[in-house]
Structure formats: structure tokens, C-alpha cells
Symmetry: C2
Subunit: 368 residues, 2 copies
């Protein structure tokens, strides 16, 4: 069965473009070269993997090559589309070199050193490049209603994979077989792909915070940690659940319960006006009380949207202030080296009054 | 059923490291900062997604964070492993700033402008950064026997997905459902993941050279173009096949046949000593004779290995000389806008005497 997701509300690309032009003005930039795929998609709707968007007045321009001719003409909303024969970046530089005013913004967090050299080498001395960071990403942090609708659908589709996993997990089966079943469910439900390589880490491998699914067999006894997400209509989901095969002893139960409570504390700390670091602190405090904080070796979460990892960071000392419309993960974990690991992760929408945990799958310890 | 791939021959990391040190010497570099994941994996075996490798004498150093502590200690062959609290790149800069000699190579094609600024900002004036391009990639172009063994296994596993697709393709089913079946076969066979988002493009969508699988239904009549690959033991496969649903008319048959012959001409042009551009030319010449060259809007191929796209490029005017041990794709295509598209792609190993097409799946037109 194929679920067909139809999203009727189109994105307001014009508004996004206007907002970026305002930001450029505030940063005393005449134009900006946008090379990061997710930012290009956000600003003009193009979903292909090669192209350069130039934000400039009077009209933006999108450069891509012949492979994307039809797709660009169909998808790009607003900018003029130029099909280049050679490198799109070189074509951009030739065009920018004609401009009278300066400077031009580049995305320093995404543009490579050599791409910058290509641009700089073709520009005249009048035109200088200015390194910007996060101009578009800061816009993207606050999700519009049309985006939240898509994110909810992605979260729902992603959450269904947990049911699939519960049926698939059996001692002796490999981690990749479980991942295969989960990904099949995702694709059959219409997902465009997975948000990242599905993590299924069983037994002592659950202690590897980023152990992707391997050929290792699920043992008769121990935790199985899963971290997974789907992409639907461009938007990512991201969740983690940990289950136990065989009867867990009291230490393992206590460890699970501590992570469960840390995650709940993190979710409860989400509200507009608090710094992202406070969410991290709330989760970490619970693990500290359980003497497990030193086994929590990563940050508590991150923003999710067109990319599975995007601002804001939800980490120790992170000062981004949570605002309604942000969507973040809350995902504390505890990893006892070579023994066992537990991580529980939901996506949380920052609302006017607090946080709404979007992920519907249950979180009490499942014993298989 | 889970096929378990055991590769007994370990990679010779020490030799790879020695070769890079020679290359650094030839380029008058004292050390090199390696940030690109595939290059890190190639040089020291680490498969995680965060870390920085510093090639320097007397002993290389690999920096990563707490999430990868166990994994780094288990996988990294040769370099000393340092677990950093904050940014690995900052730790690298602090370490390099202590060095007396200069300059330090960076990977200009991969390092972002802002990462370069972080490095440069922390270095003393004695130490300068030197932009390098493709130093490790040039080494990686020539595959070692242990790598070719893995590539053969990936190609065989990938090729099996074509059989799955032939069973899955039915009018009315969605492109993503076909992709789901293919990816399930891949995962069940032990693949670590797909080389890239599986392309299943049916009917007029086959005219989009890079149309990923969508919710669109397979029509009763028309081409279905598939481009897909699996990752096995770190190595990628990549292949394309195009089939026809319903009886093709003579124009479509002729178009398919032209691509088939162009691809064969490309494969036959592969041999040591020729420039990669000559392979492109051989394929393009056949399409020119069929008056279809202007619908062949991309290059003929690319290298494949740890990455699905890596040097050499097989494109118009490409001057890389083919050498035994290189593995490239040969994948001409013809795309009639809004109508129909055909692409046929195999992976080809450059041998001592010519080229060996690795992909076993048949290429005569399949009518479903």
C-alpha cells in the first residue's frame, strides 16, 4: 500500500527571498552566492543536487547545468534560470564581475576553499567576497506552518518504523536485516529516502553512539539501539528508541530509566525564551544525579528540517534562544563502553507556551 | 537470507601512508590536514563521520570526539588517536601551531572556507596553509587488489537489484515502491546502504537525467530508467538500466539501440594509456551518428570506489590517462525532454590490456 502525501499549501518562496534580501541589507551586502543545496531548496524550491543561486536585485538568478534543465524550469520559483555549459560557479563569477557595487556574500560554512578560489580568481578587484555564516540557516530555524505540516507527516511515517523494528528484532538476525525491514516500510509509505544511515546497534554495539547497522547478529540478551528517520516532501524525521532482548537486570533497567527521565526533563525544559543550552542542562542534570553523566558523551539535540542536522545546536552552553516554530531533537544517551548503550530521542516543536513532543511512539522499556 | 561477506585481506594502510608522505615531500609540505571522510577512511581505516587526520612525521595523529572513542581505537591503523573535548579542528590547529617548519597542506576541494578560517586563526605566523587538490584522490584512483575484490562484490550485489526491479515494475505501482523493493534486496544481502538515492524514473520522468524515485505511478507505456548502487565493505557500486513497459515503437527502439551501442563503444575504448576524454568521445560519436548527441546532456562517466563519484572524470576533454586498477563507469544517456530517456551504465575495470565490464546484468532491451 502506498500512502500518497499531498501537501496543498505551497511554500512562500517570495517571502523567504524578501527576508534574505533584508538580511543582506543589514549585513551591507550587495548580493549573495548560495551554494548549499538545502538553502537553495528553501529559497527557491529547486531539489536537484547541482546549482548555484545568486540573491541579488533586481531579480535573483539560478544557474545549473543541462542535466537539470527541465527540473529547474519546473521547480524554481522566482529566480531567472540560466543553464550553463561548464561550471555554474564560473558562470556566476563572470556575471558578478560585471557588477559595480560590492561586496558579495558567500556561505563560508559550505563553500569549499577551492570553490572560493575559483570565484575570487574570476572576479575583478572592485568585487570582494565576504564570508557569511548561517544567514539562511537562521531563517530556516523558525519553521512556517507549511513546513510543520510536512515535518509532522515525516515524524508520523518515521515513527511507524519502530513497530516494524519490534517485529523484525530476533536473536540471530543481523542488524542490517532489521534496518532492511525498517527502510522497506519507509519506502513503501512513500518516503523519498532515509534521513541518514539507519542505526541498529545490538548488544555491546549499542555502546557505540554512532554505530550504523552492521552484519553483526542480534544476541540473545542485551539492548538494541535504533536511530532512524525518513525524508518526506523534503523534510526529515529523526528518532531513537532502545529495546531489550531477554530480561534486563536491575542495572540495565535503572540505566534505561535514567535516560528516560533525562529525556523527559529535556522535553519539559523546552519553551520559548530559554536558551538551547538549558535543555541540554536539564537532561544532563538527571543523568548526573544517577551518576551516569560521564557516559553521556554527546550533546542533547539539534534542529531538524530540510536537513537532519541544522541549527540550533542543543548542547552545553548553546545560547540560541528557543522560539515558537523551532523543531529540535531531545536525545540524551548513556553508553557503557563495550557493554551497553541506551538513547531515547523525540522531535519537539517549540510552541507559544512550551514544547510539543511530536514523536508518537511509546518510550517505556520494551522487552522482547 | 543474509549473505555474509568476509574479506580476509586487510588493507595496506602503512603503504598508503608512506605514499602520501612521499607526495607531501614532492609538494614541499611538512604535514597535511585531512578532513574528507573517504580520504580518512582510505588512509587509516576510520569509518566514522567526524574526525581530522594529520599526516606528519614522526607519527600521524587522528583527532575525534568522545562519540567515536571506542570506534577510533578499534579501527584506526597507524596514527595515534586523540579524543578531543571540543572541536577536533581547533585541537589540530593548537598542535600544528607548535611546529617549527612550514607549510601545512589542506584539502582545498573539501575544507570549507570557515573551517580554513578556524585553522588559520589559531596558527602562528610561522605556519602557513597550502591549498592542495586531489593528493589523496589521485592515490585512490588506482585500486589495490583488496579494493577490487570488494568492488566486485559490491557490483555483484548491486546487479542483483535489477532482477528485483524487473519483478517489481508494474503499471500503477509507484516509483518509490520499486525503489523500496530494490533497497530491501540490497539491505537483506548485507549492504551497508545505497551508494546514492535510488533513481526510478518512469514514463516522461525518464527524461530527467537525475530524477530520484517519486510517488509517480508507472504508466502503462514507456521507459523506466533505474540508476542505483549499494555500499558493501565501504565500496560503492553504480549501474543504470532502462526497460520498457508495453511495446516500444520503432523510434524508442532505435533510441535504446543507439544508447546501447554508444555504451559498448565507450567500454571498448577503455584501455591503459588512453585519456578518459577518449572514452567519452567514443560514446558520443555513436550518438552523433544517430543524431542524438544533443540529447546526451551529461558526461560519460566517473571513477567509483569508496565514493560513488571520484576521480577520474570521464568527460569531454578529460586528460587523466587511464591506468590498470582504475574503476570507472561508462553511462551514456539520451533524454528527449518531456518524452523519454534511456541510460545504460556499467562499471569498468581498467586492466593491463583493456577494460573489463564488471556489471553482469544483461543490456538487451527488456520489454515488460
Amino acid at each position: 500500500m502506498q500512502t500518497c502525501y499531498i501537501f496543498n499549501c505551497p511554500m512562500n518562496y517570495r517571502l523567504r527571498q524578501q527576508k534574505l534580501m533584508s538580511a543582506l541589507g543589514e549585513n551591507h551586502l550587495d548580493a549573495m552566492v548560495i551554494t548549499h543545496g538545502a538553502n537553495i531548496r528553501y529559497l527557491c524550491g529547486f531539489t536537484g543536487s547541482a546549482g548555484v543561486l545568486v540573491a541579488c536585485s533586481p531579480r535573483w538568478v539560478f544557474y545549473t547545468d543541462g542535466r537539470y534543465r527541465d527540473q529547474a524550469r519546473e521547480q524554481v520559483k522566482g529566480p531567472r534560470v540560466v543553464i550553463t555549459k561548464g561550471s555554474s560557479l564560473a558562470a556566476v563569477a563572470v556575471e558578478l564581475a560585471r557588477r559595480r557595487r560590492v561586496p558579495i556574500g558567500i556561505e563560508a560554512d559550505h563553500l569549499t576553499v577551492s570553490a572560493r578560489s575559483v570565484l575570487a580568481g574570476l572576479l575583478t578587484k572592485r568585487v570582494s567576497l565576504s564570508e557569511t555564516s548561517g544567514l539562511v540557516e537562521r531563517q530556516r530555524m523558525i519553521k512556517e506552518p507549511e513546513e510543520i505540516e510536512r515535518i509532522r507527516a515525516a515524524v508520523a511515517a518515521g515513527s511507524n518504523l519502530f513497530s516494524t523494528a519490534l517485529k523484525a528484532i530476533q536473536p540471530g538476525r543481523s542488524e542490517t536485516e532489521v534496518a532492511a525491514e525498517m527502510e522497506y516500510t519507509a519506502r513503501s509509505a512513500g518516503a523519498e529516502g532515509m534521513s541518514f544511515d539507519t542505526i541498529v546497534a545490538a548488544g555491546p554495539r549499542s555502546a557505540l553512539p554512532h554505530g550504523v547497522a552492521s552484519a553483526a547478529a542480534i544476541p540473545r540478551h542485551g539492548f538494541v539501539l535504533m536511530d532512524f528517520g525518513v525524508i518526506l516532501a523534503g523534510y526529515c524525521s529523526d528518532m531513537s528508541r532502545t529495546v531489550h532482548v531477554g530480561k534486563p537486570d536491575s542495572t540495565m533497567r535503572a540505566m534505561y530509566q535514567a535516560v528516560r527521565e533525562a529525556q523527559q526533563a529535556g522535553i519539559e525544559a523546552v519553551r520559548p525564551g530559554v536558551e538551547a543550552g538549558q535543555v541540554d542542562q536539564a537532561a544532563r542534570r538527571v543523568l548526573k544525579a544517577a551518576s551516569l553523566a560521564r557516559y553521556f558523551t554527546h550533546s542533547t539535540g539539534h534542529g531538524v528540517g530540510l536537513e537532519v542536522h541544522e541549527p540550533p545546536r542543543v548542547a552545553r552552553g548553546a545560547t540560541d534562544v528557543l522560539q515558537p516554530g523551532m523543531v529540535i531533537t531531545v536525545e540524551p544517551g548513556v553508553y557503557l563502553p563495550h557493554q551497553a548503550g541506551v538513547r531515547i530521542e523525540d522531535m519537539v516543536l517549540v510552541t507559544e507556551h512550551g514544547g510539543e513532543a511530536l514523536t508518537p511512539a511509546p518510550k517505556d522499556l520494551v522487552v522482547l
